[in-house]
């Protein structure tokens, strides 16, 4: 794999150029441009069906857009499959939970880091040598960095599908983090959470974005305007596949087109405050 130079803070790490994606006659994305700078929280908002999730799927490779280019750290990644992109450093969580329901929390999270394990079938099957070393290193990373960060010590041995929704969302974030991504796509991480859980989740996102250990660039799809406006560095607004504006939250919240298309005439901050 060709390694690209490290991207510095503030430089563009992920770039979408004129992305077009249609399903039959439905134009889900038309000429969407996005520049995500390293170290930022870049939010994507828009009404239902605006194409937010399609955009996420294009970035992580579940969909391949008909037109346009995607660059990650200067490298064109259009043709790459999702797991290749994950190896490059693009992690994601899903709007609808995609956990392994029957497995424990710890196993779910560990699964996220498997992509980095180098040992082969042979040593894996007898759990010796390299496998053992790798597993112990991974364990330390997961326990000390992820479980501690997300405060899920008390549920680490519980089966995922038995957990309350809010905790499952946290576990999903944990699994995405285990991938050690540089960019993380968060698809509605607050949906279906109560106020307290939303506050927790917002804190976790800020933590992984700002904490020296992580410094992950976040692309956040979210409906909760309070959260988006509070924590984002930039906001992109989509409406029926068209970009309305891409700018800092203050600018976005005052844009008349945004208010008309998405927010109605209501005050921006009415959501969950």
């Amino acid at each position: 794999m060709n390694t690209t130079d490290e991207v510095k803070e503030g430089e563009v790490i992920l770039k979408l150029e004129d992305i077009c994606m249609s399903f039959g006659k439905v134009q889900a994305l038309s000429d969407v441009n996005l520049e995500v700078r390293k170290g930022e929280i870049h939010s994507v908002i828009g009404p239902n069906g605006a194409g937010k999730t399609v955009m996420m799927n294009c970035i992580n490779g579940l969909y391949h857009p008909q037109r346009g280019t995607i660059f990650f750290k200067g490298q064109r990644i259009n043709g790459l499959s999702p797991h290749k992109r994950a190896e490059l450093g693009i992690g994601r969580t899903f709007q609808k939970l995609e956990l392994y329901g029957g497995m424990t929390v710890l196993d779910n999270i560990t699964m996220g880091s498997h992509i980095h394990l180098k040992s082969g079938i042979l040593s894996g099957s007898i759990y010796a040598g390299k496998t053992k070393r790798e597993e112990i290193e991974e364990r330390e990373f997961i326990e000390e960095e992820i479980i501690d960060l997300l405060e899920i010590e008390s549920i680490r041995d519980q089966v995922a599908h038995m957990l309350p929704y809010g905790l499952q969302k946290r576990v999903e974030l944990g699994r995405a983090l285990a991938l050690r991504p540089e960019v993380i796509l968060l698809d509605e991480p607050m949906a279906g959470l109560n106020l307290e859980e939303v506050e927790d989740m917002a804190r976790f996102i800020l933590d992984i974005n700002e904490e020296k250990r992580w410094k992950i660039t976040c692309i956040l799809v979210e409906h909760d305007m309070g959260v988006v406006m509070d924590i984002s560095d930039r906001v992109l607004v989509l409406d029926f596949g068209n970009m309305i504006i891409d700018g800092p939250p203050e600018e976005v919240s005052e844009n008349p087109k945004v208010i008309k298309a998405y927010l109605g005439e209501e005050d921006l901050y009415t959501s969950r405050r």
């Binding site: 330390e140 326990e143 501690d148 010590e153 008390s154 804190r203 933590d207 700002e210 904490e211 020296k212």
Partner: protein
């Protein structure tokens, strides 16, 4: 390893003892264990020593001096006990705060104690300290140990424990003998701890305890129930509670057993099971919780398990009662008891983390005989103790084989307990405290000629056991003069798994009534099984079926009681009692006076025939937010 016992004299200080123990065990033995990142991480006595030493010197280089106060707050963790020991080594006086203290309480105690340093755990505690800093001019430094969330705090007076320890190392290089020198300067009769009592009625009072107070207490307790340096103890109750200090410092440091700290408070029960402690001391509430847990699991289990449990407990109760009556246990009952042990009790004790338990103590509040019998039937050596912060923890305890569940036992060695003419319990001994900090009046009331006046009433029975009535202000009479004991009734009610808390009312009233708090999880589960829909605690508590369920529990508790003590009417409260609403003290005692004020509408309704009460009041959340609440409560009559 017990050949050399350390003599406790008036010259010995806790830091000196700490120094001796660290030198004795060095790297050979584990002093502290903490579960972190999913595994138990050991710290030897040498690690313990190094951490305390550099932290202590670091505090000195920040300007901490002998006699200064250091406020401390946080969950139980090694850093907490290091900080405490470090402050003591300097000759400073630690002041522990309860982890869940609200800002106002923190402010009062930090201000009143004249604390110059504040040691917190995480961002949460640091925020509390920052919030009160402007009102506490004497506070100079805030020290924290968990970096999470601290990245944006850059004030000069904020410092991590690691950084303070680094300062300590630098000082150590300049003055290598300073630490030893500081330790040697101390004297056993210096103040070592300033302990704020929870106070069921008034503002917290700061009790001053000396090194000798603390150490003599531990020595006398262990003269009754010896501990060994191979023992394990799990420290998870607040350090701000004297009982925990007594086990961790008075006994733990003296004998050198291992302190274990759970990962998080939520997993404490699980961690206890992993450790299997040899001794434990907890407030009745914890034992009540364990009892409830067993009862719920019992209700939940399959037919065959239920039967096995029923048989085993029947045997257990029979044998326990024989022991209580101090009658010999015949060999066939012993055999049956062994059978019960094999089929049920062994497993059950393991699940409760009690397999290796030699002594379990309960104290701080009254515990009902039902709970007491329950644990003895299980083969757990549970003992009542009696004492107060003012006597460095405890003064009276049950002896092995001489346990009566309506008494609190006999005095510790070197301790005298007497009853005054008014029936007040007074005690004298080496552990009696030095007075309240900055409260002359109160000190005079509590200390007379070396006797500690407790404010509790009681008597000494024919076997020399002390019997404690409820706090004297809590003994109540009906309006026709017939007496009843509300705490006894409450503990009886709480034996039902469905009832989390009860508050019995009836002082100078025609009959006894009660306000009940249902146990949300247990009643919730019951509701699920009975196809009752609910969305929240308030809704569930007011459901007619739930009222009937609670009524059945009360009727059960009423059985066998004399008429004046029976509960005639009750109401389910829409919430559980909470220390944040000032309804309980931080050690979970009911604050009756306050409650009578707060819920006077409910009390009124309990003595009228309206059957319903409208409430309009506020509740307080843990973060200090206040919310108004409007609701209706129903009053239900119980046919006597």
């Amino acid at each position: 390893m017990r050949e050399e016992t350390i003599e406790i004299t008036k010259d010995l200080t806790i830091p000196q003892l700490f120094y001796k123990q660290c030198k004795k065990y060095g790297n050979e033995k584990v002093a502290i264990r903490e579960k972190e990142f999913g595994i138990w991480i050991p710290y030897t006595w040498q690690d313990y020593f190094d951490n305390v030493k550099y932290l202590s010197l670091g505090m000195v280089s920040l300007g901490l001096k002998r006699g200064d106060k250091v406020a401390m707050i946080g969950d139980n963790r090694p850093e907490g006990i290091w900080a405490e020991m470090a402050a003591m080594c300097v000759g400073a006086i630690p002041v522990w705060l309860f982890q869940d203290c609200m800002m106002e309480e923190v402010r009062y105690i930090v201000d009143h104690s004249d604390s110059r340093f504040f040691v917190g755990e995480t961002q949460e505690e640091v925020d509390k300290a920052l919030g009160i800093m402007s009102e506490c001019p004497k506070l100079e430094y805030i020290i924290w140990d968990d970096p999470k969330g601290m990245r944006r705090y850059d004030q000069k007076f904020l410092m991590s424990i690691k950084k303070v320890q680094k300062l300590g190392r630098e000082l150590d290089q300049k003055e290598p003998m300073l630490f030893e020198q500081m330790i040697n300067e101390g004297h056993g009769e210096d103040i070592c701890l300033l302990f704020y009592t929870s106070g069921t009625t008034a503002l917290p009072k700061g009790a001053l305890l000396t090194h000798y107070n603390m150490l003599s207490m531990g020595q006398n307790l262990m003269a009754v129930d010896p501990c060994y340096d191979t023992d394990d103890f799990v420290s998870y109750l607040p350090f701000a509670w004297i009982g925990e200090q007594m086990m961790s410092i008075s006994c733990g440091l003296q004998i050198g057993y291992t302190l274990n700290f759970p990962e998080e408070p939520e997993v404490a029960q699980h961690n206890i099971r992993e450790i299997g402690p040899h001794v434990m001391f907890a407030a009745p509430r914890l034992y009540e919780g364990l009892t409830r847990q067993v009862q719920v699991k019992y209700l939940d289990s399959a037919w065959i398990k239920r039967k096995a449990y029923e048989v085993a407990t029947k045997i257990g109760y029979y044998v326990a009662d024989l022991k209580f009556e101090r009658k010999p246990v015949p060999w066939y009952w012993k055999a049956l008891n062994y059978f019960a042990y094999v089929i049920v009790q062994k497993k059950l004790k393991d699940h409760l983390g009690m397999s290796r338990l030699r002594h379990a103590y309960t104290g701080g509040a009254a515990m009902g005989p039902d709970h007491f019998r329950f644990f003895h039937a299980l083969g757990v050596n549970l003992k009542q103790i009696y004492g107060q912060t003012e006597i460095a923890g405890i003064s009276v305890v049950h002896r092995d084989g001489d346990i009566k569940f309506d008494t609190v036992g006999t005095p510790l060695p070197e301790t005298e307990v007497k009853i005054t003419e008014d029936g007040e319990i007074i005690s004298k001994g080496p552990s009696v405290f030095q007075g309240y900090y900055k409260m002359e009046e109160e000190t005079k009331k509590a200390l007379k000629d070396g006797w500690l006046y407790s404010g509790d009433t009681g008597f000494i029975d024919e076997d020399g056991h002390l019997v404690v009535f409820d706090r004297s202000k809590d003994v109540m009479v009906l309006n026709d003069g017939r007496p009843f004991a509300p705490q006894y009734l409450e503990s009886r009610l709480k034996f039902s798994p469905y009832i989390q808390d009860a508050w019995v009312i009836g002082d100078k009233a025609p009959y006894v009534t009660a306000v009940m708090c249902i146990d949300y999880s247990v009643v919730g589960k019951w509701a699920d099984e009975h196809k009752i829909n609910y969305t929240s605690y308030p809704e569930l508590s007011q459901h007619p079926e739930v009222y009937n369920l609670i009524q059945r529990q009360i009727e059960e508790a009423n059985k066998g009681l004399p008429d004046p003590a029976r509960i005639h009417k009750f109401a389910n409260l829409f919430k559980a009692f909470d220390a944040d609403d000032d309804e309980l003290t931080r050690t979970s005692k009911l604050r009756r006076g306050f409650m009578a004020q707060r819920y006077k509408d409910i009390i009124e309704a309990l003595y009228m025939d309206t059957g319903i009460v409208h409430l309009d009041m506020t509740i307080t959340y843990e973060d200090g937010r206040v919310q108004p609440i409007k609701t209706d409560l129903r009053v239900q009559q119980i046919d006597a």
